[in-house]
Amino acid sequence: MALLDRSDWYDIARDTNWTPGYVPREEIFPPQLSDPYGIPVEQWETFDEPYKVSYREYVKIQREKDSSAYSVKAALSRSKFHDDLDEGWASVLKLHYGAVALTEYQACQFQARMVRFGPSPSMRNMATYGMLDELRHAQLQLFFPHELVSRDRQYDWAHEAAHTKNWAVLGGRHAIDDIMMCRDAVTGTIMVSFAFETGLTNLQMVGLSTDAANMGDFTFANMITSIQSDEARHAQLGSPAIEIMINNGKKKEAQQAVDVAFWRMWRLFAITVGIPMDYYIPLDQRHLSFKEFMHEWIIRQYDRQVRDLGLETPWYWDLLADDIENHHHCQQGGIWSWRPTVWWNPPGAVGPREREWLEEKYPGWNDSYGTYWDVITDNLLHGREEKTHPECIPIICNMCQIPISNRPGEAWKARALQLEHEGRRYNFCTEPCRWIFTTDPDRYKHHLTIVDRMYSGEIDPPTLDNVLTYMGIGVVSEGGRDGHDYSWVDGFRTQAAE
């Protein structure tokens, strides 16, 4: 006999609940931080994580993973990969790191909430590994862009973005603060471990890592795949929690938490993943359209997971299908037009070949989004670059903080979803964003969008320069420009010449 198997002692290590005697249990586990649903603690003690790991295994496996992830980096610093990198792909990296690095770090504190306030000992132990995983993700995704900061200041946003009030950051922070940082341990795990990590971060792995490999960016592809292998483990905290909720008559509450979180994160992921897949990645390196990808990986798989757990398909599923056709196309147009406000260089990337591809993947694209780009293309062909910058201030959704924008062209539906609450008028991009507000108006009612801040005196006076400075542009780095210096219109010149 030598060493015991993990299964021999594992249950003892997760038998750590006791009955407090010096302090009431509700003080050690306040409902607003732990379980606001009043589910008996014996029920939480049935929590059984599908994936098990010991500390001993964890440090060994993770050490090995890190040695492979970081060794690629050593090779990278000798390679010329970034010397003549396509700016479309560079934009993917800049957007990704700026959006993700410090969010991963915040996830450490989110996991720590489960370690401290999770009502189940299993949850507390598993979240301890989850917390370490998130530290890994933050540190990897700071280390790699730091390698690039001497080439291009826009990579400084990997560290700085979350400390600025850039409009894109305000949207990310609002969602992350809402579903991840300001929830009790139980609701948090349903929202983040299940809806966000199980439901949506697959997008990043399968979507971006395949594209990264196609781009020859093996560092990034490896890193994302490696991160996702951690995610696949700690995301499994969510489903046992949902099962316990359902078994204890809290299906409605679990359903709402899942649906709120999924929609919130979807609105952001369509930007950080959808736009890169359909626009920033050079045509020849694209492997799937965002829509194909969403239907394969999200519409089918996530829905099945939700129903397998005993929940229902989210009520807004049809609206999601519609949003998949539109949201990221709208935002590509908006972000490109407002390119000086972002920290990456978004390519318009709608030359003749790209448009053909978009029309094939999204039938009707030419008659809708195409009309928007027709005007821009025409202006660029005639040397009126200044006309490609918008003049009107957009209306911002009071939930997702993203400019409200609708499909242009024949089927134009001018939708402004509004809500009056305590004398203030709120605007929403979609029904689910408005619905989320109504689930808890007190939680959301005070927040000011970037545009509200121009009128509230927070940005005073709201000149363009002041607004840009407020957003960190010209402070952290220069703002964006067209990533391909408008070379994508050249194809139309050739066409015209022919």
Binding site: A2, L4, H163
Partner: protein, 329 residues
Amino acid sequence: MTDAPDLKPLKTWSHLAGQRRRPSEYEIVSTNLLWSTDDELPWSLSPDMDMNQWYLKYRDGSPLKHVDWDAFRDPDGLVYRTYNILQDGQEAYVDGLLDEHNASGHDAELSAGWLDSLALLYTPARYMLHAVQMSSAYLVQMAPASTIVNCAMLQAADQLRWVSRTAYRTKELSLTAPDKGFGDKERALWENDPAWQGFRELMERALVAYDWGEQFVALNLVAKPAIDEAFVRQLGQAAHRAGDGLLRQLLDAQQADSVRARNWSAALVALALQTDGNKQVLADWVAKWAPLGDAASDAFCAALPDAGDAAAQAKDEAEAFRAGLGLGR
């Protein structure tokens, strides 16, 4: 723009560009990572929402003040990558200990009396260590700088390490001595036996010390030092006297993690003491919590076989640690 900053190329993150040294990997991936400390309102939801109120009260409203908590640095400079390298090595060593002692029939040689002591004083410790894991995780949520958060994070992980190894030994001992209640009686002993009531009271009360600074004092300056001295050191010496070489060596390995905890605790106290008024705040908390630590050491050490002056030693050593930080009573 009239006052456009100089956007010349960077050699490192802009926030580290002012320092003269080239930043280390530790600094690049560990510093200034919290966004909730940037503005007056921690989270971008309503100010009166309970989580904003919680952070405003227990973190930003703490009597422990510093203008720049982000100046804190872990003296061990650990990052995730190096932590795993370190602990994989340490765990390989522990695997070796367990394997070796198992092969040599170590447990069969233990006396019945010592097995009773292990059942009473060793295996119930997983509850205590888990409470330290939870308490450390509270600091992860509440500390006002990422460099402090990270130290608390690795400290929480270290506790899970010893919860796991204690569970391992609990199982192994139950195989050798099925009649001693290993794996069975620990919760009842933790909840009722006089030997544990001091530590239980200390940890239950520490868990609800919600001010982040007070949590740090209760946990890192009182509870952990008491555990290090009474449980790790004095129980280790008792193990040595009883011929239990395995437990002695396991506890020595556990001590190595505690050394890191003391290193960062000392560094944090040193940083805090730069601010006028903090010395009194810390001293008041020490005065409040140290008696609970002493009582825990007294109760635990009284149950050690041939204890001698174990309790006095444990209390003196914990006090000496605090005195070394300028916080002696």
